[in-house]
């Protein structure tokens, strides 16, 4: 799948829905961890693996720790993947 922002958003939203962690009013600026979606370390690792499976790479595996969907989208935009 492409790394276009809308495709990345679909992957993240699908993941949050599957894990019952999609907050009401979720947006590109909603925190993914405490105070937002509330992902813990295992759920974040699963999101990381899902992004890699779907989009071929993921920001977490490069040592980044994106805080929001927007930062994940920015990773793909910057990498030109």
């Amino acid at each position: 799948m492409s790394t276009a922002p809308e495709d990345v958003q679909r992957t993240v939203v699908d993941f949050l829905t599957l894990t019952a962690k999609l907050p009401e009013g979720f947006s590109a600026d909603t925190p993914l961890y405490a105070g937002g979606a509330g992902l813990d370390s295992l759920e974040t690792a699963e999101l990381s693996a899902t992004l890699e499976d779907v989009h071929g790479s993921d920001p977490y595996s490069t040592g980044e720790m994106p805080q929001t969907l927007g930062e994940i989208q920015a990773f793909y935009a910057a990498s030109g993947a």
Binding site: T19, A20, L42, A45, E46, Y60
Partner: protein, 283 residues
């Protein structure tokens, strides 16, 4: 990835009946002095350690945070003449604890559906707070210990035993071993471990004087053998309650936890602490 919620109350509601077959009536780990004791002797030994640390005396009011099916609450109420209020976020837990307490005809024990991190009781309304193997199901350990300290009367004691983390697990390791951790989550719910030192530090931070901090990792290790034996002995009943996948996840979790116990990642500990007595006023 399972789509079942692993939120502690929902998980507990789902597995309560099966866990009584797998973990035994007391629903917690055992302490094995010799290594070959049966599970009920080991779980009773852990309860005894908590009792010793709590310094129970007749007439005291005890809050049991995360009371499970109420077995320890009944034990200390019947054995020590204390009044116990057990709380859990699990509705099934409350119903089960009430039913078993009625069957046992034990008085001075009540159960309520409340959250240990925001319990709603008055300040200084208990002489003892008892937290037996429930803290790992509460993400906000600071709020848990703060609430325990808040509801203690001056001179009161908090006793806590639980699974503990002995080392930090980095993100790369969590990602690499996510399948193993997912099995643990499937079997035991959404658990988060603090260190023994972390619990002691929280108690101190909330004004309690820590007087006991016991590492029980080695003494609790035989628990996994006993649980696997129960899983084998009660396979058909457990499968009927939580399915074959649930049964298999439990057995696999025993293997994983035993390995984590042995390699120094996870373990078990007990902490007790006292709230300073009230100062007498001097005129």
């Amino acid at each position: 990835m399972s789509t079942d919620t692993h939120e502690p109350a929902a998980h507990y509601d789902r597995v309560m009946a099966a866990w009584q077959l797998l973990l035994g009536d007391e629903l917690h780990y055992g302490v094995f002095e010799h290594g070959d004791e049966p599970l009920d002797v080991g779980t009773a030994a852990l309860t005894s350690r908590m009792i010793d640390a709590a310094d129970l005396r007749p007439g005291l009011r005890v809050l049991d945070v995360g009371c499970g099916s109420g077995a320890p609450a009944r034990t200390i109420a019947a054995g020590f003449g204390v009044e116990v209020v057990g709380i859990t976020t699990s509705a099934v837990g409350v119903d089960t604890a009430r039913a078993r307490t009625a069957e046992a005809a034990v008085g001075a024990v009540t159960f309520e559906q409340r959250d240990g991190t925001d319990n709603g009781f008055d300040d200084a309304s208990f002489d003892r707070v008892w937290v037996m193997e429930s803290a790992h199901l509460m993400r906000d350990k600071d709020a848990l210990v703060a609430e325990c300290a808040r509801v203690l009367r001056p001179g009161g004691r908090m006793v806590l035993c639980d699974l503990v983390g002995h080392r930090e697990i980095g993100f790369a390791e969590v990602r690499e071993r996510r399948a193993d951790f997912a099995v643990l989550r499937e079997a035991f719910g959404d658990a988060h471990f603090a260190s023994l030192e972390g619990f002691a530090a929280l108690a101190s931070a909330h004004g309690l004087d820590v007087d006991r901090s016991d590492d029980l990792t080695s003494a609790t290790l035989p628990t996994f053998d006993r649980w696997r034996a129960n899983a084998d002995a009660h396979r058909d009943e457990v499968v009927a309650l939580i399915g074959a996948a649930g049964h298999d996840a439990f057995v696999r979790s025993c293997d994983l936890l035993e390995a984590f116990w042995r390699d120094g990642t996870f373990g078990y500990g007990l902490v007790s602490a006292t709230k300073a007595p009230a100062r007498s006023s001097v005129s």
